[in-house]
């Protein structure tokens, strides 16, 4: 297993699983955790014991993932759960989101940080409405890699014909490839950039951790093998330098009298000493003096590293400002058109006043116009809805009281993302992805 030496080389893959109990999602997660030896003896004994007391005939792996009392009592999954597992090749952080329609908000939440999404399909049912919805959410959240796990292959006699039928259904639905080969000329309805379709049986373990001998017609990787090898380093946005200033480090001490550093997490580009920068929204120009941490200066900093940047000139820079490449600046925006997932019981109506938190900056905004609402069943847009209800996804035009420095979400998943906060209740009521800004 992973030891100290391996810790120096393994990277982190964040993934989200989409699906419901009926698709065998809990079984799949239980299988991944169990077969990679992440389930400990006491946890297993515990769920065996609880399953027995409830009179279940088999060990209910869902008990591992259902953490809250209400979930266990009602046999439902309420919330996103985060769990970890590790193999000698990679460390995984899994966001497990419940799959029902009413939990769109949880799936959006789980997908927001994910680099890979697993969508489960029941081999007997094929592509259903829920599959489309899950793929749609992965695509609008711009999760760079997707896997469709065609589960319960044992119940269709390991049939290649059935698998091919499902793969063909997927092909019409989104950019697709079978067994990990890249798709090129196929229609890209939902724009999933990298899709891999894998036939599995989570219950029996086929193609989950090890390749199955029962589907010799499939020559692609097992699921875990794919998770371990999918290339993620190139997903980082290295093109345009973006650095939201999070915290000003200004020690009041004799030793560091003139020190002024800007702490933050790099949101885009490669940062080095000598780089030209513009401070937005103000517009002042200077150069990077140093990119450093307490361990010393860095030759180069890239996303998602947390660093401290020092500037050549003593400018008035504070939290909420953004340092950027003067040759490729973000939009200093007063108006946003954004795709919004509404997350509150109280609907969003036109003219609503909200706070927008984007990177390290919060501003007030008015929802001037509800442009459209997406039907999560048909994925069709209806124009000018009267309101957005809980779990609705729609396009909203926001007018900002003060400027935000944004990029389209399609170009940068950090500077193009925001949450909406109701200032009366302090609740987080929505999640937004910038489509365009001016």
């Amino acid at each position: 297993m992973a030891t100290s030496e391996q810790a120096l080389s393994t990277d982190l893959l964040r993934l989200v699983t989409c699906g419901s109990v009926d698709d065998g999602k809990s079984t799949l997660i239980g299988r991944l955790l169990f077969d990679t030896k992440q389930i400990f003896v006491d946890q297993l004994e515990h769920i065996e014991d609880v399953s027995r007391r409830r009179g279940n005939e088999y060990v209910d792996l869902a008990l591992l993932t259902d953490g809250l009392r209400a979930e266990r009592e009602q046999g439902i999954t309420i919330d996103v759960a985060y769990r970890s597992f590790v193999t000698p090749r990679r460390r995984f952080q899994l966001a497990d989101a419940p799959g029902h329609v009413q939990y769109t908000r949880n799936m959006v939440t789980g997908a927001s940080t994910a680099e890979l999404g697993i969508v489960l399909v029941d081999a007997r049912q094929g592509v259903v409405e829920q599959t489309r919805r899950h793929a749609y959410i992965l695509s609008i959240l711009r999760v760079p890699h997707a896997v469709v796990a065609v589960n319960k292959m044992d119940l269709v006699d390991w049939s290649q014909q059935r698998f091919d039928e499902i793969a063909a259904q997927l092909d019409g639905l989104m950019a697709g490839s079978v067994g990990g080969q890249a798709a090129d000329a196929r229609p890209k309805n939902l724009g999933l950039p990298d899709l891999c379709v894998i036939p599995i049986s989570a219950l029996q373990g086929d193609n989950v951790v090890d390749r199955s001998g029962r589907m010799p017609w499939y020559d692609g990787p097992a699921l875990l093998e794919h998770l371990e090898t999918v290339e993620i380093a190139s997903d980082r946005d290295l093109d345009s330098r973006r650095f939201p200033v999070q915290w000003v480090i200004r020690p009041i001490s004799d030793e560091h009298h003139d020190y002024r550093g800007y702490g933050g997490q790099i949101a885009g580009g490669v940062w080095s000493a000598g780089d030209e920068v513009v401070v937005l929204p103000g517009g002042a120009r200077t150069q990077v003096e140093a990119v450093e941490t307490i361990d010393g200066p860095l030759e180069a900093g890239i996303p998602p590293m947390s660093v401290t940047i020092r500037l050549a000139d003593d400018l008035d820079v504070s939290r909420g400002d953004m340092l950027a490449d003067p040759a490729a600046t973000p939009v200093v925006a007063r108006e946003l058109e954004a795709r919004v997932c509404w997350m509150s019981d109280r609907p969003l109506e036109p003219r609503a006043r909200l706070a927008v938190k984007q990177t390290t900056r919060s501003v007030r905004a008015i929802a001037d116009e509800l442009v459209s609402r997406t039907d999560v069943h048909t994925l069709e847009d209806a124009p000018a809805p009267e309101r957005l209800e809980l779990n609705d996804i729609g396009v909203v035009r926001l007018r900002l009281a003060e400027p935000l420095c944004v990029d389209p979400y399609g170009e940068n998943r950090t500077t193009g993302a925001f949450v909406l906060i109701d200032e009366a209740t302090n609740e987080t009521v929505g999640a937004g992805m910038v489509l365009s800004a001016s």
């Binding site: 030896k37 953490g67 759960a81 020690p251 702490g263 490669v270 307490i294 030759e299 947390s306 906060i421």
Partner: protein, 306 residues
């Protein structure tokens, strides 16, 4: 542009560290009076290191607070005082003994008596007394099932309660830290770390830990399949005869509810090897406080536990 330069590799520890530093800075920037909870255990020692990464060469923008049950391992207290002095930061101690003396809580009695439960009152009183609006803690999602569903910024109402069904959605790296007066947030920078990550980080950063984390000869007794340190704070029952063996501790809690494991791992590297091969969770193996009911942790968290 970027293509000519060699780019740094970002390992999983780098990424977890960056996330934690970002969380620390968000707490400091968005809340008025945060406090860092420190137990003397490995998780809070890692937090101190991460706080240095977030704020040096500046001072920490918050004090460090220890909820002192009075039933500590001596090594942990000695370590706490030395480490805080080295850092030059401010330490606040909130004492369970004082809560007992003031009649805020009643001491449990008998062989299973523990001050673990009483800590919650001491903690909430201290938060109110000092007007803290954020308490930064070292809880991890891998510790326990209800933790797996808790937010990184976990909101507590006026009574210090956690309501798992009314949690704020948490997306990207955007945390909603807004609180009203009297309410507070618990912030968990190492939420996404595992026990193994913590040990790997301790090894990478060469962090010093209290000696009880490494194998040492100690007088212990066996209860419920766990090894407890023999101490004046625990009343032993019939047949719980003490014996000396080589143990190490996986967590550093109150002596009354923290068990040790038999081990000969004397170095960080040896401990990492043992953890990587272990088959029992640290709370399942060594924390009596989590073994009572299916929802033990959830119940304690609801009323304001760490």
């Amino acid at each position: 542009m970027s293509t000519s330069r060699a780019l740094p590799t970002v390992t999983h520890l780098d990424e977890l560290e960056s996330e934690a530093v970002h969380i620390f800075r968000e707490v400091a920037a968005e809340l008025e009076r945060p406090v860092l909870l420190f137990s003397g255990g490995k998780d809070s020692i890692v937090l101190l290191r991460l706080a240095e990464k977030a704020f040096r060469p500046g001072k920490f923008p918050f004090p460090i607070m220890h909820i002192d049950t009075g039933h500590n391992f001596a090594e942990a207290i000695e370590f706490r005082d030395r480490r805080v002095a080295e850092l030059g930061e401010r330490l606040v101690i909130a004492s369970v003994q004082e809560s007992i003396d003031r009649g805020r809580v009643v001491e449990e009695t008998g062989p299973r008596a523990s001050r673990n439960r009483l800590q919650t009152t001491t903690l909430l009183d201290a938060i109110e007394e000092h007007g803290f609006d954020a308490a930064i803690g070292g809880a991890r999602r891998d510790e326990e099932r209800s933790r797996a569903k808790e937010r990184i910024f976990s909101f507590r109402d006026d009574f210090g309660q956690w309501n798992p069904r009314a949690q704020r959605p948490e997306l990207w790296n955007l945390y909603n830290a807004r609180v009203r007066k009297g309410e507070h947030v618990r912030a968990f920078p190492i939420s996404n770390w595992t026990e193994l990550d913590v040990w790997q980080y301790v090894a990478r950063e060469q962090l010093e830990l209290p000696g009880i984390y490494f194998a040492h000869e100690r007088e212990v007794f066996r209860r419920d399949g766990m090894l407890y340190a023999a101490s004046p704070y625990v009343e032993r029952m019939e047949g719980e005869d003490p014996f000396v063996t080589s143990v190490r501790f996986r967590t550093v809690g109150d002596m009354t509810c923290t068990g040790g494991v038999e081990s000969h791992a004397g170095t960080i590297e040896e401990v990492v090897e043992e953890i990587a091969a272990t088959r029992v969770t640290e709370r399942g193996e060594t924390r009596a406080d989590d073994r009572f009911s299916e929802a033990a942790m959830e119940d304690r968290k609801r009323i304001g536990y760490f």
